[in-house]
Every structure is written in structure tokens, then in C-alpha cells.
Symmetry: D2
Subunit: 312 residues, 4 copies
Amino acid sequence: MPLTADAKGVYPIAPTPFFDDGRIDTASIDRMMDFYHACGSTGLTVLGQLGEAQKLEHAESLAVASQVIGRAGELPVIVGVSAPGFAAMRALTHEVMARGAAGVMIAPPNTLRTDDQIVNYYRQAVEAIGADVPFVLQDYPLTFSVQMSPGVIKRIVDELPSCVMLKHEDWPGLEKISTLRGFERDGKMRHISILCGNNGLFLDYEMERGADGANTGYCFPDMLCDVVRLNAEGDREAAHDLFDAHLPLLRYEQQPGVGLAVRKYVLMRRGILSSAAQRKPASPMSAQAREEVDHLLARLAKKDPRAANLAK
Amino acid sequence: MPLTADAKGVYPIAPTPFFDDGRIDTASIDRMMDFYHACGSTGLTVLGQLGEAQKLEHAESLAVASQVIGRAGELPVIVGVSAPGFAAMRALTHEVMARGAAGVMIAPPNTLRTDDQIVNYYRQAVEAIGADVPFVLQDYPLTFSVQMSPGVIKRIVDELPSCVMLKHEDWPGLEKISTLRGFERDGKMRHISILCGNNGLFLDYEMERGADGANTGYCFPDMLCDVVRLNAEGDREAAHDLFDAHLPLLRYEQQPGVGLAVRKYVLMRRGILSSAAQRKPASPMSAQAREEVDHLLARLAKKDPRAANLAK
Amino acid sequence: MPLTADAKGVYPIAPTPFFDDGRIDTASIDRMMDFYHACGSTGLTVLGQLGEAQKLEHAESLAVASQVIGRAGELPVIVGVSAPGFAAMRALTHEVMARGAAGVMIAPPNTLRTDDQIVNYYRQAVEAIGADVPFVLQDYPLTFSVQMSPGVIKRIVDELPSCVMLKHEDWPGLEKISTLRGFERDGKMRHISILCGNNGLFLDYEMERGADGANTGYCFPDMLCDVVRLNAEGDREAAHDLFDAHLPLLRYEQQPGVGLAVRKYVLMRRGILSSAAQRKPASPMSAQAREEVDHLLARLAKKDPRAANLAK
Amino acid sequence: MPLTADAKGVYPIAPTPFFDDGRIDTASIDRMMDFYHACGSTGLTVLGQLGEAQKLEHAESLAVASQVIGRAGELPVIVGVSAPGFAAMRALTHEVMARGAAGVMIAPPNTLRTDDQIVNYYRQAVEAIGADVPFVLQDYPLTFSVQMSPGVIKRIVDELPSCVMLKHEDWPGLEKISTLRGFERDGKMRHISILCGNNGLFLDYEMERGADGANTGYCFPDMLCDVVRLNAEGDREAAHDLFDAHLPLLRYEQQPGVGLAVRKYVLMRRGILSSAAQRKPASPMSAQAREEVDHLLARLAKKDPRAANLAK
């Protein structure tokens, strides 16, 4: 089932689980997949920016993607295929699509500046991977230093029919969602799915602006699913209450570098990963950072029982 | 009273109040100063990045600084003097110090890259403004694209005795505070004041890491004062409770561009500014953004009575 | 006489002459102006990037501009007014236009990224300085990190009638000239003057691509004038022979940082400046660099008698 | 024979030859290798920035490296192994070292800013590839946006004994060579080989500053060999005469983007490559650019007979 522009809900960004010695922890992958199913995810993404893809040998990347796809069942799996050259991007795309991926995600190289450079890059990427492979446009200027105006996104959507989803992580980004949905409403641009990243830092209002859900890796994807559901049910204040309860921790996890360590630590405390280990080069948590996360979890537990008993 | 390395508490970043027609609103400056006094500020900063300094004629800058200094009484006033050249920086510094400023704040030009370039820039700046003028080192990579490692800050503090304060706005930045305080504890670096910016997004834990307070412009500086006070009194959970209540709005205001519009809007609703107007070029709030801020204020009012009746 | 889109020939970028003690050397300004007249310049630019404008007090900037304008006679004078804010840009523009400047030059702030940001910046700049002031669009990505595609330049030219000249310093830039002249030929864009900068590193072929001349500061502006003249006369090989003779030195002077020191040193050796001094912060020449420049001059003297007896 | 810090002479950067249909042209690889031998090269580099490495499938990269190494005989071959992650860097390094490479070249990712980040990156790279693999430090800020001060290079050389060569392409860069050689002379840093890149734009004076030769891809590597030889023989003016004769073309080829097209075109005209084709995405030469290169070759032929009859 290929990814389509109608995708909605929550697509967690899956971390890659490792044992303390650096080997890939396949049992944790299965547990993680079962957890994503259980908490109401509607899809997921592997080998993304925070999936430590760059620390994997090529064969390992394929093995992880294969296991995830195999365990995903009906859930569509998006695979990150960003690469410094189109040859590697094409090779990985073909391999994972053959294994059953629903689509791929492509981040822009951080050297792109002008509108034409950005559009041209995606034109060439589609030429490389094939126009039949659905792809996700990743718009994350904070990390990639590439700024895509709404007009550039529109040009890409207009020109490249295989662009079916925007991973929206611009910051600030609320007006961008409104602008893009305005293009659609005015018949100026076809509909695409907009799933929000940036750890969900503005998911509360992004949903109200017209986003279709989340595509991010926060350590409580079940909260993301609930917020998206509550919003869809029109229970606005309940959605905000739950979101606000998580915001202190979510903000903490959104920090670059240390964020992945926080995420893996909490997923370990939740019993999903057997270890919080990252492959090198890793950004480890200091003892004080761990105490802060424990403190945040203890405070969260007063409002969300899912956080109970997680602090060390 | 010159600024010293013992500065503590909350130094709000003062916005520049305008009427809707763009004229400077001096009555609002007085009200704002009275408010800063009343809410427990221990100093303040004018003509900073979010003070719209670049939209002021030179004479206007001096007039604003003079009025603020005149109304500040015992409170030390820091004046932002960042400029593209040392000639303009020196001229403005001498003029505001002569009017009674306690010190100046200097941001790095965004072209600096290597450690040596950064240290050399501050060496030259001190040579230009004079070694007798206390200055604040502004460390804000998110905005200025200049990354200062703890070692670089140490070199500047070691070499330039007139550096008395760090405006800490690195992100992530908790470990940096710990590292700098560790330098001090180990006798490797003299003590400097560390006041936190970045709208206070991590002020809760920054205080616990050893920061001396806040130097930022969030629209509830009274909350910042309370959090710093509660922390000093050892009332940890109360500090976090109050901080967390404000975090949804604080995060919203921390957005670049639209943030200043949010700040001025709330200060107007609080009766401090007579108008939320910015001089051009301005980043205005959309109608939907205004509704979102009203929604955030209404939700905040349930936890902090200071936000009651502010939403339109 | 306001600057127009018909400007042609060579507009040297004038350095600001200083004595060794840092005072402005007004006698050298007069000599320099007489030299520009004598060597066939058709205009000139002051207070540009390499005019050390940022090291001048505001009153000094005005004094330099006034003296240059007064001595320029019929030659149109462009004044650099790039500034971190529109208030300062407007103030300086009005002051120099009142003193007889022919137009102003505006460089983009290095934070601009998207096409819309660039166009919007120039729209706001024109709103600030007034639509009646002719301005030069400076396109120098190597220094300013702002990349303007031909389409963006076209949008600015289309929207802002007061844009009369492009200071073309993109690198590589030959195809950009051809593209812009193609727009004009196809009736898609009105004609503007294109004068080339970047120390003239590609002036030989830029003229053949359709540029109108040079707007740069190479220490032999008389060579630039000759190359432009020979090209206009159709004496292609003679133009290249002269250009190639200067290329080793020209390339050396084009280096950022040390380049200005080289330029001032040669202008001093030529008897135009009384000193090669720069105001601080300066990038001085090492003894070995000076020997290299002397060596380059000695070698150049074999092909261009104007370089004879200049080496120390 | 592993690469050592005593390397001298000219190591051309080998392009990857393609047929017009995109297949790798192995006969041209052999011809190119024979040419490198014949013209006096002392080593070479494959799969560098301008070797179109990112357009090769992994197996193709290995095949190209293997063929080059097989044909290199006694000449040491450096292989570019820069990669977005250490896993891929390690894998490629082990594969090419097993095939007989003399060492590898590592460019810094363009996200590095502080001195510590740069040193830490190379520390991790060596940990990944193994401390027994000689590596070349590529210092090319114009392309990679990473600025390495002499102090940072010294720290890397001090800490990592497997760093044996600097590919020097900073610009301006003459003082950097002098500073590094000064470190060595003062006993503060062990000796490393310094070979110059950036198309050789300053090779004339770089040799006089203490560089050991060139490591760059200019289409006349035989000229580079002659200049290095003449310099070693003390025939200074002859070295400069030859260099200056090539400078107009060399400068033209040094342009980013179009440069590789120029290089391949001239190598084709010289009979070394059977085609000037690049794999997509390519930056082709316009018809006018080709005429300009032909013009440059015709002019060069008057001074260097090797350029005779190359223009179309």
C-alpha cells in the first residue's frame, strides 16, 4: 500500500535500538513495533534523522527496515533515504520499496539556498528514485538550514505528483500551515498530507491550523495519538490539557543532541527498549540531566498515569 | 553604579513602545519602568535585539536610553550597543555611559566562526569601548549563528576583566552552565554573573544548574521574578508549578519573528503599553495567532490570576 | 545628475585614505579623485565594503562623502548605505543625496535566504529611502552569503523602478550576465546597468557577455578603464593581453582580508595615497606578503610601464 | 606503501571518466593513469570532491579505486572517503586499504563550527577508520564552510599521528602555510606534508611559502609538475612565467560548478578522456563557455605548446 496524500494520524519516528555493546537489538524493535500498534499509530518512519541511520552499515540499514516493515502489518512504513548523492539515494530507495516500504522521506542538503535550487534538487531526486515512489518532503530549517517558503513547497507539489506528504518542522510554522491549506482551499494547490515534526512542540495549535497529525519521535507517542484523536473529536480543551501536561518534558526532549538520549532513556524506562544505548558518536546524558528527566517524569505522573513509576 | 559580576535576579529586556503611527510612546516607557520596579526586577536591558533598536534614529536611541535610565532609579540599566562597526559601538557606548548606564551588551557578528575569531572580536570591542566599561557577553547561537564553546567563554573572561555577565541563550545550554560553574568551582575561571535569555524556555532548570537569574523579555516578567525567588527560597516544586503554568504561552512567545508581536500584545492587554504597534518592518500577528494567544491567556488564567481578563 | 540604467565604464570603489595615526587624509582624497578623473573613470563609489565605512564615525562618513562629491565634478558618485536597520539607511541616504550623490548602493544582510525574503528586503529598503533615490543592487554571495538567482534580480528590477544598476559580483557569474541580458533581449525585463565587481577577476569575459563595465577597487583602475575601452573598440586580443598581464596581481589583491592592504600599499607606491594605513581592526600585510606584492609589481612592469619602479 | 608526512610533488585529483551514456569509461582511466605517470606525478587522489564520487554506486566506487590502484604502480593513491556517517566511512576505508590504497582523505561535514567540534570530529573519524590508516586533512572552507585555524590544525596533528598530510585549500591561505611551517621550525608541531588544492590558484607563492606541492585537478597537471620542479630547482622566474601563462585558464577552471565541465572538456581535447560527459546531476558548459575555453586555450598555446591545437 503506497503512501498517499490522505495520510493522517501519528507516524512515530522510530529510533534504532542498540544493546550496550552496539549490536542492533532486534527484540526491542519488535516490542517497539507492538507498542506503536497498541497506542494507535497510523504509520511510522524509520532511518530518519534521529534513527541513527548514519551509524549503520548498509546491510544493517536494510535489516532494520526489513524487520520494521515485516512487523508493521497494515501500517505504512516511510524510510528515510536522504544521502549525499543520488546514486546512494536511488539504491536505498529501490531496496526498501522492494521490501514493502510505503514511501521514502528526503531531507534537503544544507547547501541549498535559492528557491530554484530547492525545487531543482527535488526534481533531480525524483528523477533518481523514480516518479512512482511516493515521497515525503522534509521541511526542517532548524536542522538543515534550508528555508522553504510556502511558494517553494507549492512549486514542488505542483511539479512532482509523487510528493504526497510534508513533514512540517519549520519554526515558527503555524502560518505556513495556514498558507498551504489556504492554497488548497483556493484551488491553487492539490491536497497533501501535513504531519508535524519538531518533537511536536506546537502540535496543539498545528492540528487546529489544519495539520493531519504528527510525524515525530517524542517518547510518548501515545500522548501524540491522544491529542490528535481528541482534536478530531472536537474536545479542544482536553487535547490542550493533555498536551500541556507533557510540554515540560517534550520541550526538554526537543533539544538537539541530548534529545535522543532523553528519548531512548524514557523508552527504556517504559519497557520498550532494553537499553538507552546509542552507537558512537553519541551525545550522552549527564547524571544531572538524568535527574532532571526523572524529575520531569515524576511531575508528569501527577497528570498522566502513563508516566507513573518511570523515574529511577 | 557599574554592573558587576555579582548581578542576580531578573533583568527584563525592555521593548520600545510605539504609538500606532510609529512615534515613540514615552508615557508607556514610564509605565513599563514602574511595572518593572513593582514586580521585583533587579535591573533591565534596553535597545536589545527585541527592542527594535535598529528601527530607531540615533537621537531616538539616546532619548529612549536616557528616559529609561532616568526612571530606573537604583536599578542598573544595560544598553545594547551591538553594531556593524566599532566606531558606532564606541560612540553609542560613550553616550549611554555618560547618561548613567551600568554597562553595555555586545552580540557577536554572525560571520565569526573560529574560537580565535570570537575572542579577537571581543578583544577589539573592549579596545574600542574602553576597558572600564562593564560588558555583557551575549551567547545566542540560534539567532547569531556564532557558537561559543565553554572554553571560548573562559578565554574571554580570563582576558577581559570588563566582561562581568553572560547572557546565556545557547540551546541546548544546561550543560554549558554546569561546565562554566565547574570552571569557577575548580578555581579555573573567575566568577561572572549568568543571566538566562531565550525567553526563559529552560529557566526552571537553568536556575538549578547555577544561573543567577533571567535577562529576557517574556511578557510576564513578574513570573520570572517569582520563579527566581521561589528557587532561591528552596521551594522547588512551587517554582516548577508556576513555570509550567506559563510554559505553553512562553513557548509561543519564544518563536522568532511573531514573538515580539505576542509580547507587545500581552503587555498591552496588561495595561503596560498603550499599543502593541511595532515600527516597520514588523512581523504582525495574524487574526488566528491573536486568537491562539487569547486562548493561551484564558487557559493560563486558571492557574495564574495575573492572566485573568486579559484575553480579548 | 541621478544615476541611471545607462551607466557605463569604470566606477572605482574608493578606499578611505588614513594617515598612520588613523586621521582621515583629505589631501589623499583629492589626489585620488584627480587620479580617477585622469585615468578615464566614468563615476565612482564611496563608503563601500572596502572603504572601511564601518570604522568611520557618522560625521566622518558624511565628510568623506561630501569631499568626494565636491571633487567629482561631473562624475556621478554612488554612496554605500548598507546598514543593519532601515532607520540608519534612510538617514544616511537622505544626507548624502542632499549633498549631491547620484545614487546609493545597498548590500543584502547575510541572513536572507529565500527569494521572497530577498525581494521583500529591497522592497522595504526602497520604502525607507524613498522611491526617487536610484539604487545599486549588490550581488556578492561570496561575501554576503546571499544568493540571488536571475529570477530574483528580475523580480526586483520589475517591481522597483529605482533599481538602476547591478553590482555584479557573483562567482561564477558569466552565465548570470548572459541570462539577464537574455531577459532584456526577449523583452522580459527592462534594461539595467551591469557593472562588475569581485576585483574584476572575470572582467575580460564579463565585458564580452554584455556587462557595461566595472565597479571595483583594483589598484590599477586605469587598467580597468583600458580593458573596457579596448573591448568597446573591438580590440579583443589587446584587451585580453592587458588583462592577463595584470591577472597575477589582481588575483592576489582579490583575497579577502589581506586584499585591502595590498590595494592601499600599491596605491601608496603609485603616489596616490600618502600612507597604506587602515584603521583598526585592520588586516595588515606580513613582510613576506609585501615582498610578494613587490615581486608581482616587478613582473608586471615588464608588460605594463605603469607598474615600473613601484616595487620597494 | 602507506602515505607519509614526507610526500612531495604533484598528486592530481583524478576525475571519473564516463561515456556519454553514463557508463564508466575504463579505457580512459587507464589512459589517464598513464598520463599521470608520464607527466611526473608523484601520487594521486581518487573519489574526491570533483571525482563525482557521490554519483557512483558503492560497487562502482570500489571498481574505480581498484583499477586506479592497480594501474598506479609505485604511485601512492589517496582515496576520498568523506561520508555523512562514520559507518560508511569506515566501510569504504577498509575496502580501499585492503585493495592497496596508500591513505584516505577526509573532508569535514559543513556543520562543524567551534575548534572543539572540528578536533572532535577527526578524533572520532580516526576511531572509526583505525589509527593505522594514514589520512589527509582537507581544509577547504570555501566549499565546506568549516574554518580551521592554524591552532586547530596543530591540535589535530598533535593528537592524531595518522594525520600525515594537509590538503591546503584555504583562501586566503599563504599566511597559514607560513604559520604552520613556523610551528614546525619552532619545534611546536611535527612535520606534515602540505599539498595545495583550490585548483592551484596560488601555487606559485604557496611553494615559496613552504608547501610540498599540489594536490589538485587542474587540466594541465604537467604544468603543475613543472612549476613544482622549477621551484625546487630554484628557477623562480621560470616557474612564475609558466604559472602566469596558465593563470587565465586556471582561474576559469577554478569556478565552482562549471569548473569540472571545463576540466573534463580540456582533458578530452588533450586525448586523455574519450568524453567530457558527467553523470547527472551535471553542470554543463554553455556554448559560450566552450568558446571562452577554446579562446583561453588558443591564447595559452602561444606560450605553452602543450595547448596547441586543442581549441575546437
